[in-house]
């Protein structure tokens, strides 16, 4: 029984991190941290990071990675604001379609061009950034439609609207990944592309779809941010990619592919959000915060790699019949 509980706790390490961060800041900065306004702010803040981290979770599951999400975010924010005079929701539609299009491009280049996902998405990252800078002429674009700010800046009761939107999206993604054939195929492809292919799964098509989902989610984050700020700047999404990678891996996804949980990723983003909020409350200077974020990314990636190696070795041991 105790052993079972112990194992359960080990598996849920992200939840433990979340709770311990919550308790630590609650004890040391209780008055500032644990009040309604601050929690409301955290919830709003993380709601723009959740879609990005979910985008990465989806591509990590199929054994890929998407570095272009930061650029897609800023471009779709620019489109949302830029096309708004023609029609607010028409602009949102175009922005989301743009994200899906870039995801499609990534997927095609990776599956047909035979390029590793890192390199492809590094290329599209630069490409989309160039398109964004050309489109905006390196200027900020202000929104014309005040009512549109409801989606990013408004609240339903005490709950911020964007967190409701992203949690609904997360729920849909959860159902798709867990209970549909498509979702299960993604896990199979990430776990072992060759055996997935032999089992009759269309590996290339499913991969392209995964990247399209990633593009869509990145664009969604851009639309929500544009709504929150009622403007778009060229600086949006600059360092969010690193952040999203850290959150997704903390939440249970792996660079080795085949693993990843929607719920874990959401908790991962929330933990990082609390950490940032806590650092701000304590008064950690921005320059040091950049360093701390970088350290978190390095540690998360390193731990993930060590774990993946250990799992692989265990599998090999089992295959040779030498279980320890």
């Amino acid at each position: 029984m105790i052993r079972k509980i112990f194992h359960f706790i080990l598996q849920q390490n992200i939840i433990i991190l979340f709770l311990s961060l919550f308790i630590v800041f609650g004890i040391f900065k209780g008055d500032l941290f644990l009040n309604g306004i601050n929690l409301h702010n955290i919830a709003r803040q993380i709601s723009f990071d959740i879609p990005l981290a979910l985008a990465l979770t989806t591509v990590l599951i199929v054994g890929g990675i998407d570095l272009s999400i930061g650029s897609v975010l800023s471009m779709s924010a620019a489109l949302t604001m830029g096309i708004q005079p023609t029609g607010t929701y028409f602009a949102v539609l175009i922005a989301l379609l743009f994200g899906i299009l870039i995801g499609f491009l990534n997927g095609i280049l990776i599956t047909k061009g035979k390029v590793v996902p890192f390199i492809t998405t590094l290329g599209t990252m630069t490409l989309v950034k160039g398109i964004m800078l050309t489109y905006t002429k390196q200027l900020s674009i202000a929104g014309k439609d005040e009512s549109f700010t409801f989606w990013g800046d408004g609240s339903i009761g005490v709950v911020p609207t964007p967190i409701i939107v992203v949690l609904i999206v997360a729920l849909i993604l959860y159902i798709v990944l867990k209970y549909t054939k498509f979702g299960r195929n993604l896990y199979a492809i990430g776990g072992n592309p060759e055996s997935a292919y032999i089992a009759g799964i269309d590996v290339e098509k499913n991969k392209v779809f995964a990247f399209m989902i990633s593009g869509f989610l990145a664009a969604l984050s851009g639309v929500l941010l544009a709504s929150r700020l009622n403007s778009s700047t060229t600086q949006l999404g600059l360092d969010s990619t690193n952040w999203a990678i850290a959150a997704a891996i903390m939440g249970g996804a792996s660079m080795a592919g085949g693993r990843g949980k929607v719920f874990g990723t959401v908790i991962g983003v929330a933990s990082l959000g609390i950490l940032i909020n806590g650092m701000n409350l304590i008064g950690v200077f921005t320059y040091y915060q950049i360093g701390i974020r970088a350290l978190i990314l390095i540690i998360v990636v390193a731990v993930d790699a060590v774990t993946a190696t250990r799992i692989r070795e265990n599998l090999q041991l089992q295959a040779y019949g030498k279980r320890d």
Partner: protein
């Protein structure tokens, strides 16, 4: 004879592209085909070239370093800070180079110890170095104090060609000889081709990988010194974008992203292609933003070609 020419074209498509671009440039712009313009092109790419030498060697072993951009900033900042605090020329230059090597050490250590994805680890150290740069400079511009130091970036050899260009070309040729003619260099190709086979044939894979990361850090540090000496000042994000450019030029030259293939002489050609393209875009008055798009398109085309060719090679 024709066959040899055909073979040459297939093996070195980058030379054809370069010749085409130069003739195009001579056709479009009257200023392009002047010796002064060529000296300028070489001078403008020399910083990138020094970085690309390190990056190419890493690519040959199948590794990446995305932190080179901010190492450029860090080494410049270290040198300038040392000079401001009264260090002499030799000490400050050594300090700058040491800063680059230390980051290379960090990258190599994490990657060989944990076997983690080189790309992500160096992305992380890149942000880490950026934060160090910001803390050191406080987002201000700092100026070099010793005039003799500036010769490294601005000085010309008998008034004809810049010292930085000579450093870059010498390094590229020297490294190429090491790659091709020594056991150490040849081992790097084997590691890139098949790390497992390299390990089983008695090559110290991790030790060599570590050494190459140190070398790449050193190159980036040296490039940072050249850049600082050229402008006479330094800022926290001095080298931003160079990590991407160094990948582009290596692949343009014919170094494969899959490892095991390439060389630094090829990278010189890749550098020249990029230099001529940016020079032409400037001469044609095309905006910076459009240049970004052009770079992205060129990069994607080249890596796709590389990927498809590699696939064919492996299957045949």
């Amino acid at each position: 004879m024709l066959q040899t020419v055909g073979k040459f074209i297939i093996n070195y498509p980058s030379i054809i592209i370069l010749v085409f671009l130069i003739s195009l440039g001579a056709f479009i712009s009257p200023v392009f085909f002047t010796s002064r313009n060529f000296v300028n092109i070489l001078w403008s790419v020399s910083v990138l070239g020094i970085i690309a030498v390190g990056q190419t060697v890493l690519l040959i072993t199948g590794n990446f370093d995305m932190s080179v951009a901010y190492i450029v900033g860090l080494s410049g900042i270290t040198t300038v800070m040392l000079q401001i605090n009264g260090a002499n020329l030799i000490t400050s230059v050594a300090g700058g180079l040491a800063a680059g090597v230390i980051i290379g050490f960090l990258n190599g250590l994490i990657i060989i110890r944990t076997n983690a994805n080189a790309f992500l680890v160096t992305l992380g150290t890149s942000a880490l170095v950026y934060s160090i740069n910001l803390i050191l400079t406080q987002s201000k511009t700092w100026y070099a104090q010793i005039d003799a130091f500036l010769i490294l970036g601005r000085g010309k050899f008998y008034g004809t060609i810049h010292y930085s260009v000579i450093i870059f070309l010498t390094m590229a040729i020297f490294v190429q000889i090491i790659l091709r003619r020594t056991i150490f260099g040849r081992s790097l190709y084997i590691i890139g081709h098949n790390p497992k086979a390299a390990k089983y044939s008695g090559i110290q894979v991790n030790r060599l990988k570590f050494g190459v990361y140190l070398f790449c850090g050193f190159c980036a540090g040296l490039a940072g010194l050249v850049m600082t000496a050229r402008t006479g000042s330094t800022v926290a994000n001095a080298g931003v974008g160079l990590e991407f450019d160094s990948l582009i030029v290596s692949v343009l030259g014919g170094t494969s992203l899959f490892g095991g293939k390439g060389g630094t002489i090829r990278t010189i050609i890749g550098i020249l292609i990029l230099g001529v393209i940016s020079n032409l875009l400037i001469l044609l008055n095309i905006q910076y933003e459009a240049q970004q798009i052009a770079k992205g398109v060129v990069f994607l085309t080249v890596v796709c070609a590389d990927g498809i060719l590699e696939k064919k090679r492996r299957s045949s």
